[in-house]
């Protein structure tokens, strides 16, 4: 490492500050690809139905009441899936509004 004069260091500091200011308002979050968003929403929806169905099937298997709980939890799972998608969309909206805002 070469011996640096304080003048050099001061200039470097200024340049670093400028660069920091330039990139600060870009937001820490990288952009989402549209394929990524599509994957996100579809998996949220499908996962809700799948988990609901599996839970219902499990309860039926334990209680021997097939198909009562399978049907109930399948519907609840679909509701949970929609809830997941709404939450994901809300998050995304908030993110986009933030990015557009600054």
């Amino acid at each position: 490492m070469s011996a640096q004069k304080p003048e050099d260091l001061r200039k470097l500091g200024e340049r670093l500050d400028a660069a920091e200011r330039k990139y600060a308002d870009r937001g820490a979050k990288p952009p989402q690809t549209s394929l990524g968003i599509a994957f996100r929403f579809s998996t949220e929806m499908v996962a809700g139905v799948a988990v609901g169905g599996a839970l219902g099937y499990g309860i039926d298997w334990l209680a021997g009441t097939r198909p009562v709980f399978l049907i109930v939890f399948f519907v609840l799972g679909a509701a949970a899936g929609i809830l997941n998608v709404i939450r994901a969309a809300r998050e995304l909206n908030a993110e986009m509004a933030k990015r557009d805002g600054d």
Partner: protein
Amino acid sequence: MAMNPMEQFAIRPLVPLHIGGYDVSFTNQSLWMVIVIGAITLFMALAVSKRSLVPSRMQSMAEISYEFVANMIGTAAGEDGLRFFPFVFTLFMFVLFSNFLGLLPGSFTVTSQIAVTFSLAAFVIAMVIVVGFARHGIGFLKLFVPHAPIYLLILLVPIEFISFMTRPISLSVRLFANMLAGHTLLKVFASFVISLGGASLIWLKPLAIAPFFLIVAITALELLVAFLQAYVFAILTCIYINEGLHLHDHH
């Protein structure tokens, strides 16, 4: 020259090993996990070995990744979330290096296996549950009780519970599906190049250049996706840890 775009995801045993009726062979999957961990260890160890005040390029990269994850936890999970820094950093680096090394031609993408991503996601959720109960005791169950009239809770509590249980699935499927789709796409376009280049009609041969340029473009996109998915995996881990720590309800 039969090309199956899914062949790249096949798991082949390298050292067959059976213990107690279970197949625990050392496979190409295991090999690439070792390579990923080795690469991370080498990268971090080499980068910070000099510990210079003015960092070299390598050291800067290590410091940037450290600060990136630290900022991510700070904003998503608050100050006390930083106790989980080693966990989140390890997870992030593992997924990131798996995704990046998987882009090398001829390599194997560890994160394109649902078994791997689901294990990671299940571990994350299990940890959130343990942390939640350790911190709040039985009060952790309040996570499943939204603000609503009592007669609606009969319906809403199971829905919230199912919604919580979907997390490991959506977390793991997203990473796995992105990796699988991207790599399959690359392979499909690569096979176009070969079949067009080997076409019997002479005027078809130059057309092989078109899918070739597409591959270059898709590879660039896959680099973005590789980073993005590692980021998404890590940030969601932070968000879940935050809920385990602070029981934030959804509005």
